[in-house]
Symmetry: C2
């Protein structure tokens, strides 16, 4: 099994022209996709978010059949079992200056790296979170999409080094919790499940959308609501989600511990079944 394999525009390569606007300006988008038993998870939801991001940034949408074919080629070349498929779309190369080229030729970068974070123990015991001091800037035009401007996440992630802490929660300037550096957050209270709105910053997670769908199916109230750290400390339980972990209980946020007893077991199981099971490739 190869350690890391990359296709650029369908060809094995791991070298990008310096003129690429992904490097120059972070002018592009990415998806981090779980691969299990050689197959991608939540492919359809990842592609839908990618398409929404392209729409928002004015980048021509890549052909979904082409992406699926390149994914299959990559996973075959890597003899992939479990790992992470990173799919990056940039606006491609261009001349000097911010102005997007009139006829951009977007670049497709697909990389596979073997190995997935092990969630089994964590899922039972719950994960540790911290609160980051680094704030999220707000811009409605960039909110929700998974673009390449990720310096805030880098600075926030640099705030802790204890490997037992899985993620750090980030607030906006008003002190509203928005998300983790690499996860979405859910608070359980008597009214049901609440998660922060992502209209001005944050990333509309693929598993977050599964959570929403499954909660609806199960008749569990699920609301987008402003959450301050105090609301999280007062919650009956917390969950986080991302594409690699699925959904996992939170054992502690800084010094505050949570019981996992009140968490909606059926919802968690159902979300995991969808988020962690490979889709049968079309």
């Amino acid at each position: 099994m190869a350690e890391r394999v990359t296709l650029i525009d369908g060809r094995p390569d791991d070298c990008l022209p310096v003129s690429d606007r992904g490097l120059q300006y972070g002018d592009g988008l990415f998806e981090t996709i779980a691969v299990r038993r050689g197959q991608s998870c939540l492919w359809g939801r990842h592609l839908a978010r990618l398409a929404a991001g392209c729409e928002r940034l004015g980048i021509p949408k890549p052909n979904p059949e082409l992406l699926a074919a390149e994914r299959d080629d990559l996973l075959a070349r890597a003899a992939a079992t479990d790992g992470v498929l990173k799919l990056t779309i940039t606006r491609g190369s261009g001349p000097r200056g911010y102005a997007p080229p009139a006829a951009p030729r977007p670049r497709r970068i697909l990389s596979f790296a073997a190995g997935l974070p092990t969630t089994t123990n964590r899922a039972e015991a719950g994960v540790r979170l911290t609160l980051c001091a680094t704030r999220l800037g707000e811009n409605a035009r960039l909110a929700g999409i998974k673009h390449l401007n990720r310096l805030e996440q880098v600075l926030a992630r640099a705030e802790w080094s204890d490997p037992r802490t899985l993620d750090g929660l980030m607030c906006n300037a008003q002190g509203h919790v928005i998300c983790g550096t690499m996860s979405n957050i859910y608070a359980l209270d008597d009214a049901g499940i609440a998660t922060p709105p992502l209209t001005r910053c944050g990333v509309a997670g693929t598993v977050r959308s599964v959570m929403q769908d499954c909660a609806q199916d199960l008749g569990i109230p699920f609301a987008e609501r402003v959450l301050r750290p105090a609301d999280l400390f007062a919650a009956r339980g917390l969950l986080i989600s991302n594409a690699l972990l699925g959904v996992v209980p939170v054992a502690s946020l800084q010094a505050h511990g949570y019981s996992t007893e009140a968490l909606p077991t059926e919802l968690i199981e159902r979300v995991r079944q969808i988020a962690l099971e490979p889709e049968t490739h079309p």
Copy 2:
């Protein structure tokens, strides 16, 4: 004269590993430096801002002597006369995830492209500006430095296509004007010269610092002050600056025309002498 020449870590190359964090997260900084008659302008100020940016992001600072040697090598290889030197520093390659590597090996990318914007006519007649709808997000930790997260500028620059419009001004969420997509802005009123504070977004321009120094030398009041579009429309005159243009009068902001008669000629001349004259290389 070569069209475009690039050195990566001192070697002629224009191909970057996909694992570079500059591409992955915009995890780096850049400087856009005017080259005239084969020599760089404002090198010292560019390097000072770059060092401040490295400090802020926790990227090890590149050795100034090494950068100067690579600059000289690049300009010699390109047989450079007038053009643009782009100097990019990234945190280098790293494993998957936002966490900065404990011992990063930053990458140095120096590119020279022949040709400079011609300012002579513009400088006399003044330039046209527009107001952009795209807002600047605020984050004190990223304000002032010239980092690689530039999607807001890309989206703002995509708002106009008339080549006679030189730049577009951007506001923060409160509607305060901060800067152009590629320039800083100055308003002349009875009290002197005012320019927006850059404590929560914007880039601390090299020529902006020259403006500040020269205004002080000439005893011209120069203040950082919140400016709304209405303040700009009411101003006796406007100036913009950047490293390639130096400082130039504004002829119009959208439909509003400005006289250039009240502008401080001596200040403009002095700033141009410093900003547009190559420094003698050490």
